[in-house]
Symmetry: C2
Subunit: 139 residues, 2 copies
């Protein structure tokens, strides 16, 4: 139920200290349904504890990414954006007009990618699929 519970134990297991800034950032990530960038996370964090620094947000994101607790995305143009890594894998469709990020998942697509890599003699470690599009006009 409690989203960031898992995270905290994960951190513990990884042998990293559960500090105040980390708890706050973890909580923010757990509650975020969007894909905030470091600055957005920082802004939300400051509301909870004004002493947090942007550098710590960056350091924490890197740490969490390394632990596999968050995913980093680099959508066209902008700064890196993050999301908690507890859901199942999905890819993204970015609405070019609104900037909205829509998540989707296709098992067929995933398998096809693997098949392609396989034919090239490769094993996929990870991948990145981003569709950039606009809402189809009218009905």
């Amino acid at each position: 139920m409690d989203q960031h519970r898992d995270y905290e134990s994960e951190l513990r297991e990884a042998g990293v200290r559960l500090t105040k800034p980390r708890k706050i950032i973890l909580k923010i990530l757990g509650e975020s349904q969007d894909h905030p960038d470091a600055m957005a996370i920082f802004r939300r964090a400051v509301k909870i504890d004004a002493s947090i620094s942007l550098a710590t947000v960056y350091r924490t994101m890197k740490l969490l990414e390394g632990l596999g607790a968050v995913h980093r995305h680099s959508f066209e143009g902008g700064p890196a954006r993050f999301e908690h890594a507890d859901g199942e894998h999905h890819d993204h469709l970015i609405d070019l007009d609104t900037g909205r990020v829509i998540e989707f998942h296709s098992e067929t697509l995933e398998r096809l990618q693997e098949q392609i890599a396989d034919e090239l003699g490769y094993d996929i470690e990870h991948h990145r699929l981003e569709l950039y599009g606009r809402k189809r006009r009218q009905r």
Copy 2:
């Protein structure tokens, strides 16, 4: 036959001046089979004309991208990399051990993407698919 011939006329049509730096960069892009970044293009250009500046490389890449003459990629980590846009569309598989970029194309994959976007009510403007993997061990 002559790869950069098309480019030069394209530039002409677009009403931009065919300057010395541009010709050189165009030639470099036409001959490149890899996906060089701005600095790599700059290094190659300097060998031809030592007076070329990195700023001009960046400006030219942006210009060419705007004209649809080159494609810009932002593979994981590194700086933007470019390639001439005269071939047919393809996606990339990046070898995590060597950094080598392998091109591939799957009509099925492309159609599947479109279908997914369609189901979400979107028209794809463009997309980005990158597979990151390692060569399958042994035979």
